[in-house]
């Protein structure tokens, strides 16, 4: 399934409530916005109203953090129902989630937690992705997570490589992929693999969206452990990974994430113009893969 629906999306920004007015009024070409749907799954009031105002002026993507697709339990039915209602209401350009878990039984853990990539885990994630796609009546894009734990430690080990796991997930479910190049950089640094090799092996045809963000060193463990903190500008190495992927596969919607030390809207716009430049450069060099 080619990600054709999103070809009009250029460099987008994670939408921050304090930037609502500027976001609504900005007319930058290719601009779009992404939100965590969890913050908008409410019955009514100002949050939904504002999101609809933004949607009236810009494409909007929903980037979920709590479906717990790699969890042992099926997706929370009530949550999925609310998400489906928001998708119907907003008609988002993209819907995405993470290759991670965040719930056991009725308890939510507000993080994107790691699991051992086994064949059983692949079957479980594929089942959950299919359930979500059936309920939403559209494909969702699955994001590669940041890793902090080694591939093998005691009885902890992965029987599947992450890129192979994601490629197989695409095969089995028809899902799309969200390539977070900052997560690739963070994980490659922490686990000692080649970020370039990971990017080169990534199934480019399935990538519907790319994330860029800043990272920082762990406050206790230091520069040996990078944290996907979203609280700093995008590192040069991360821009280089974006360029590497786009040079190979052509432009895709790129989203700049920022959650901590959030600067002014114009500063974020300026930063995301690097992504717009990379997309424009390769749009000229390489014809679009698919024309709707």
């Amino acid at each position: 399934m080619a990600p054709t629906a999103a070809l009009h999306l250029g460099a987008g920004l994670a939408l921050k409530p304090q930037h609502f007015n500027e976001a609504r009024d900005c007319r930058d070409s290719g601009l779009w916005f992404e939100v965590h749907p969890e913050n908008y799954l409410v019955d009514g009031g100002p949050r939904l109203h504002w999101l609809e105002v933004i949607r009236a002026h810009h494409p909007v993507a929903l980037h979920g953090v709590s479906l717990s697709l790699a969890g042992e339990d099926p997706p929370d039915a009530a949550h999925l129902q609310r998400l489906a209602a928001l998708v119907r209401r907003l008609q988002p350009a993209l819907v995405s989630e993470h290759l991670a878990w965040s719930r056991t039984g009725s308890h939510y853990l507000p993080d994107l937690l790691p699991f051992q990539r086994s064949t059983a885990a692949l079957q479980r994630v594929a089942r959950h992705v299919a359930q979500v796609q059936d309920r939403l009546q559209r494909p969702i894009a699955i994001e590669n997570p940041s890793h902090y734990l080694p591939d093998a430690f005691g009885d902890w080990h992965h029987s599947w490589d992450e890129v192979d796991f994601l490629a197989e997930l695409v095969q089995r479910t028809g899902c799309q992929l969200l390539l977070d190049v900052n997560n690739v950089q963070v994980s490659a640094h922490n686990l000692g693999f080649s970020a370039n090799a990971y990017i080169d092996r990534f199934p480019g045809h399935a990538v519907a969206e790319i994330h860029v963000a800043g990272h920082s060193s762990d406050p206790l463990l230091g520069a040996g452990l990078l944290i996907d903190s979203h609280d700093a500008p995008v590192a040069p190495a991360v821009w280089a990974l974006l360029n590497r992927f786009v040079a190979r596969h052509g432009p895709r919607p790129v989203l700049l994430e920022r959650d901590g030390n959030v600067p002014a809207f114009d500063t974020l716009r300026q930063e995301s113009s690097t992504a717009a430049d990379i997309l424009a450069h390769h749009a000229v060099a390489l014809p679009l893969e698919v024309t709707p």
């Binding site: 019955d43 965040s102 853990l109 507000p110 993080d111 937690l113 902090y148 005691g154």
Partner: protein, 254 residues
């Protein structure tokens, strides 16, 4: 719910202060702390965002220790963290450390009422003409429902509303002008509504709180008015109706 699965073991190690002897080896890897810290910080930050007046009253250090205790005892049961902390006011009331701070749980309750008003369903508020256009004989049996975004409470013996609004950075002094310096230790009521998509609040008398309680239970106007007058002898019902309609506290009658 099975509790012996691999992910349950990881979750237990995240929620517990120190991993148990039988916890998986990976939970003792130094980098596993990243997950434990992120999960707890996510819960504490959500509580701080949802209970800003409590946090301002007790200070960051005290708040964060109380929030950490709460998070371990009451993990989120919903992916929507704006709703996290439904039992936080009760939890504070039960804490031994708050026995000298009897106003803390009521202030937490008002923070929660703000959140519930903020996320409530949209509905057109009743206007004066919705009531005045009705024939006189219909008024006694008319059932008025509170607006979905209306929240109201009476705090016996505690000036909770005054304390709360002087610790909300989004307070509008003109709406509730009592200066904090003049704190009088007596009961107070609060009515929160959301006209024009913004939560606002005002003082509410015991009679108006009883009136809204009766309306919420489906009582007809005559019974609700009687309940209000019994709670507050001498209550001016016409003025009460005008206040409630002006605040957008009622729904358009069917």
């Amino acid at each position: 719910m099975s509790v012996n699965t691999p992910l349950h073991a990881l979750a237990q190690a995240i929620w517990s202060e120190a991993p148990a002897d039988e916890a998986p080896a990976i939970t003792r890897h130094p980098a596993f702390a990243v997950y434990r810290n992120t999960v707890l910080k996510g819960c504490v930050d959500a509580l701080q965002a949802n209970y800003p007046a409590v946090a301002r009253l007790v200070g960051d250090d005290w708040f964060q220790s109380a929030a950490t205790l709460y998070a371990r005892a009451h993990p989120p049961v919903d992916g929507r963290l704006v709703l996290y902390g439904a039992d936080f006011a009760d939890f504070l009331a039960r804490m031994e450390a708050t026995h000298q701070l009897p106003y803390l749980a009521p202030v937490a309750r008002l923070d929660r009422m703000w959140t519930l008003s903020h996320v409530a369903a949209d509905a057109p508020p009743a206007l004066p003409q919705h009531i005045t256009s009705l024939p006189a004989e219909a008024l006694a049996t008319l059932k008025l429902a509170p607006h979905p975004a209306a929240q109201w409470a009476w705090f016996d013996g505690i000036p909770a509303r005054t304390l709360w609004c002087s610790n909300r950075s989004d307070a509008h002094p003109e709406a509730d002008p009592q200066p904090p310096g003049d704190l009088v230790w007596r009961g107070e009521g609060a009515l929160l509504t959301r006209p024009a998509l913004q939560v606002q609040w005002a003082p509410a008398s015991l009679g108006s709180i009883c009136f809204l309680d009766a309306c919420a239970q489906g009582a007809p106007l005559l019974d609700a008015a009687q309940a209000a007058s019994e709670a507050e002898p001498g209550l001016d019902l016409a003025q009460l109706m005008a206040q409630l309609l002006d605040a957008g506290a009622l729904q358009v009658p069917n």
